[in-house]
């Protein structure tokens, strides 16, 4: 894949696949053939240094699995993940630890991602302990204070002695961000970092994350189902459907001029706070729900729900990502006719 825009690539994912074999009992394994869940089914993308890259999809699209694969929390079935040009899918224990120092993760649930028995100080000290950054108490303290200041939890001393449950959702997500920053990572994987935070304060957290990203020159892989925040927050997005990327490009470009019928449907379905729609039944271009990843339709995997489906969509091989120019990729063979 060629680079549309200049800038060096920090993370490159190459035909990455993750297939789960459901756990079966001893006796069951004699029965029917095991159904393989193809959670991630051959995706490729590149993230440039200093970029915010959004991975958009419904539940079951494989976006969270992709995040975990990049974090090496689970092992890939096949494919490569190149971090700074180096394949990290098959590295050893020590190298994985070093990799995790550079690539950090923010989780969706700010209530669950911190040990409830740890004080904020302990939460932030843990990465320093794990990576044996420094044994000096004062030096650690300075780093913790700096990280808390970075995420605008001030004065930091007020927060260090508290337990996570004493903080609001937004504050916890700040602490979670501070915990990742303390190791000076190069890249952050943020899996729905604001979806559990009240709408009224969501933007505040996104602002903070963006500020941090600018200040420290970080790269984000931002995973979400929410197109609205993605448009504001990200530079480029990739839309996933059933384990594949169906469209990828600049956020504004994709939302204003979607090429793939799935992306169109997604955009169509987002409600808009404007009057005069109460008595209107919204026209939805697609029906039904996302099929199970253990039973992916043949041909173009979207054909079962696609309003523009033609026999060839079902019969011919799945379309690969095609470049529309200016780095806007899509995977629909009929885009010209429907555009």
């Amino acid at each position: 894949m060629s680079n549309g825009i200049d800038g060096d690539v920090i993370l490159r994912v190459d035909d990455l696949k993750k297939h789960f074999t459901p756990h079966q009992g001893f006796l069951q394994s004699f029965g029917k053939v095991r159904k393989v869940v193809r959670a991630v089914d051959g995706i490729s993308f590149e993230i440039r240094r200093g970029e915010i890259f959004g991975l958009i999809g419904e539940s079951g699209s494989g976006k969270t699995t992709t995040g975990k694969l990049v974090m090496k929390l689970i092992d890939a079935t096949s494919g490569r993940i190149l971090f700074n040009g180096r394949d990290v899918t098959s590295i050893g224990h020590e190298e994985t630890k070093e990799y995790r120092r550079q690539v950090q993760m923010i989780f969706q649930d700010p209530y669950a991602s911190m040990n409830p028995r740890f004080k904020i100080r302990d939460v932030l000290e843990e990465p320093l302990e794990i990576h044996r950054i420094t044994a000096d108490r004062k030096e650690r303290e300075t780093r913790i204070v700096r990280a808390l200041t970075e995420v605008k939890l001030t004065p930091p001393e007020d927060f260090m002695g508290r337990f996570p449950h004493m903080l609001s959702g937004g504050q916890r997500q700040r602490v979670a961000t501070a915990r990742t920053l303390i190791l000076n990572p190069a890249m952050l994987v943020a899996d729905e970092p604001v979806s559990m935070i009240d709408l009224s304060t969501r933007a505040e957290i996104l602002h903070m994350m963006k500020d941090v990203q600018r200040d420290l020159g970080l790269t984000y892989l931002y995973i979400t189902h929410d197109l609205s925040t993605a448009r504001y927050f990200t530079d480029r997005i990739a839309v996933m459907y059933l384990g594949r990327i169906v469209e990828m490009g600049k956020a504004d470009d994709i939302i204003d001029h979607p090429a793939h019928p799935y992306t169109r449907a997604l955009i169509e379905a987002v409600p808009e706070p404007a009057t005069g729609k109460v008595d209107v039944v919204k026209e939805l271009p697609i029906s039904g729900e996302i099929p199970s990843p253990s039973n992916i339709p043949a041909g173009c995997r979207f054909h079962t729900r696609c309003p523009y489906m033609k026999p060839e969509c079902k019969e011919e091989a799945e379309p690969e990502l095609m470049d529309l120019g200016s780095g806007h990729y899509h995977a629909c063979r009929r885009w010209k006719e429907i555009g």
Binding site: S59, E204, P271, E272, V278
Partner: protein
Amino acid sequence: MSETVLQVKNLKLYYHTSKGAVKALDDVSFDLKAGETLGLVGESGCGKTTMGTGLLRMPTPPGRFEGGQILVEGRDILPLPEKEIRKDFRWEKVSMVFQGAMNCLTPVYTIGKQMMETLQEHRSMEKAEAQELIKEYLSYVGLPADVTSRYPHELSGGMKQRVVIATALFLKPRLVILDEPTTALDVIVQAQIINLLKKLKKTFDLSFIFITHDLALEAEVSDRICVMYAGKIAELGTNEQVYGGKGPAHPYTERLLAATPRLRRKVESLSFIPGTPPDLIAPPSGCRFHPRCPRVYERCRMEEPPVREIEPGHLAACWRCFE
């Protein structure tokens, strides 16, 4: 408009905790006409869900009614004995789709069995007849009849939510309270469910109370919007009054609307409301929103604004709006 289905008058509902009374609903009044959808919006912890369970007269312990009236078809339900409530009122006149209810279906029973149980609790009818009824209602919500023999884990989130909605409609209630019915669903499924609700409302001549924290969603379903803040009504107006060109009256609604991300508009910066909703054991003096309000002035800190009509059918509780 047509007859009034529900009238809430000065309702007070407090949670009594060891630290004091949490005034979850403090002097709330509104009414609801037949065939109307009233939206309840606000941040988490502002009393939306309390209102929902309160209207069914089953406040979550340690909640207790501390005053006011809930008139359903003109009859106050607060003093009625529990037996009568169960026989004539709950699920018969007013039913509810609880938040996350679709994840609360019992995993070990089939959908049919669970729906049958609800039905038999209230109606004595032949099993075959009941099964027919269940199938009929499943078809109303767009599900095939064979769903009855399936288990919850075999259904998708959207299908489960449809089952829950069908169960809420069984006994032909006049009013259905929907508490965040689409929050856990994907955006396309959410749109499908909203369409379904609109269709059902017409078919059964229902009234809805639609509880959500998402103002954008509220705009698509509710005839009137009731914005709640810290257990009180901040603003109550028609869809046009809240979302129309003039914009909402109350600064809280205004800020909330500004914080709602919009897909179709490119913005450089999203706005947000700094701070958190207040502690309802000891709410701030004067207007409860004043510590977070951008338009606060002296009077807001001292006096609590009453809920007043600022134009026909448009209520607000803000000193600025009265000027």
